[in-house]
């Protein structure tokens, strides 16, 4: 099949999200301000849909806020992330799912930077060894929690008790979504729909009966 125009761009931005077995890392902001969103993410994926999502009590922040507030050097942020990879490796997982969008951006940026500058990856491996005596494999797949929910959206819809529909009129609820900056701005091909046609959230809203309202800044 030959894809053209939007369809072609769209096919470039599809992600093959693994179905199961994830190592989970929490978010500074989400656990502090929206702890129930983390709780229900795990409850839905694990208890309702039977997925294996592992959390180690030893994991920590990725350092993303401290890094983006310019308070820690880049190598510090990288080594903290390398330690999370080590915990993932030790636990026997290959897919990493982040609760936080800035973490997702951070992990992606770090892996891409290492791909381009392997000497930097080697230096971080050394620093992690010196500091923590740990070694790691890089994840085969990094996803944001929303990617996983997007992947499971039809299963969730099949189990949902309510639809995103106005009970009184039967009309779909109108939904305005906003995608966190660090989801796909640096690396559009890492996000569902890229930066041009982001659909990770709109895809969920539509699968659950809602209607997404577009607005110009949605793709800024």
């Amino acid at each position: 099949m030959i894809y053209q125009g939007k369809q072609k761009i769209w096919s470039d931005y599809q992600k093959e999200i693994p179905d199961n077995h994830w190592f989970y890392v929490r978010s500074c902001i989400r656990q502090s301000f929206f702890p129930a969103s983390e709780y229900y993410f795990l409850k839905i994926c694990r208890d309702m849909l039977g997925r294996d999502i592992f959390e180690s009590k030893h994991h920590t922040t990725c350092g993303g806020i401290a890094y983006h507030a310019d308070t820690i050097p880049q190598e510090t942020a990288m080594t903290i992330v390398a330690r999370q990879f080590a915990l993932m490796t030790e636990a026997g997982y290959k897919n990493l799912v982040t609760s936080c969008i800035t973490s997702f951006g951070n992990y992606t940026e770090i892996l891409e930077t290492w791909r381009e500058f392997p000497e930097l990856e080697a230096r971080i491996r050394e620093k992690l060894w010196k500091a923590c005596r740990r070694e790691f494999e890089k994840p085969e797949y990094v996803a944001h929690a929303s990617d996983l929910v997007y992947k499971l959206r039809e299963e969730i819809a099949a189990n949902a008790r309510f639809k995103l529909v106005d009970k009184a009129t039967g009309e779909p609820l109108r939904i305005v979504e906003h995608i966190g900056c660090h989801y796909s701005k640096m690396f559009p091909h890492k996000g569902v729909g890229g930066a041009e046609y982001p659909c990770v959230l709109s895809g969920m809203a539509e699968a659950w009966g809602g209607k997404v309202i577009d607005y110009p800044e949605r793709r800024h």
Binding site: Q31, Y39, K43, G64
Partner: protein, 236 residues
């Protein structure tokens, strides 16, 4: 020390962020910070690209490099795959290393930020944490969140968190052995040195401004002079 431009080229953000700028201004057009601040990422990238040493020195001491929100919208839109935001990160890094950050009001905010964020990471394992989050410092979080903070244990338990306890879960206590590893990472990768440098430069600046460290912390965190924003008269 080599030339400032040469110093910048050692930063991986800079290697990633500056290819060839054609001065099209797309980054400035898309930039949310430029909508509010007197800020022009195109000019910053152009100054650096021209290897204008005097201009770079001025940037390192300026307010302007501290206006960027690091959202990276500019990366998506640049037709030449530059990242003005990445260039800014490299400039901030150099400004900090050379102690120039205390020359600007926005740069001086690095002190309270460093204190709060790095202390949280090293003591609690997360950058932000309700146990150190003060409503008085963040009234923008609103009265509902003030109520949450006043009833932390009950509210977090009800929302499925494991607040301050052992084991897994949101807001759990991070084991000391893991905090020790974070400290070792800080020591090994230059973060501890960076924290001390920011402290030392800020102490000097506070003395110069005739303030105690307590006054300096409060002032740098809270005070915002007129002139930063597009709709304000005057320059800082």
């Amino acid at each position: 020390m080599g030339k400032l431009y040469d110093e910048l080229t050692k930063d991986y953000r800079f290697k990633e962020g500056l290819k060839t700028c054609i001065n099209c201004g797309t980054c400035t057009a898309i930039c949310p910070a430029a909508e509010f601040y007197k800020y022009d990422p195109r000019k910053i990238v152009d100054t650096v690209q021209r290897k204008d040493e005097e201009g770079i020195l001025e940037l390192l001491k300026s307010e302007t490099i501290w206006y960027c929100g690091e959202c990276m919208s500019c990366v998506t839109r640049c037709p030449r795959k530059n990242g003005a935001g990445l260039v800014v990160m490299a400039l901030r890094n150099l400004s900090t290393k050379l102690g120039y950050f205390t020359e600007s009001e926005k740069g001086r905010q690095l002190y309270p930020l460093t204190k709060v964020l790095t202390t949280n990471v090293l003591k609690l394992g997360y950058c932000v944490h309700p146990s150190t989050y003060k409503y008085e410092d963040h009234p923008e979080s609103g009265p509902v969140f003030e109520w949450v903070l006043n009833n932390k244990e009950d509210v977090y338990a009800r929302l499925g968190a494991n607040y301050g306890r052992q084991g897994e879960g949101a807001l759990r206590a991070i084991p000391q052995e893991d905090l020790d590893e974070l400290q070792a990472i800080f020591d090994e990768t230059g973060a501890t040195e960076r924290i001390n440098l920011v402290e030392e430069c800020s102490r000097k600046k506070a003395a110069e401004m005739g303030m105690t460290m307590e006054e300096y912390t409060k002032y740098t965190f809270e005070h915002c002079s007129r002139g930063h924003f597009n709709n304000e008269e005057g320059a800082i």
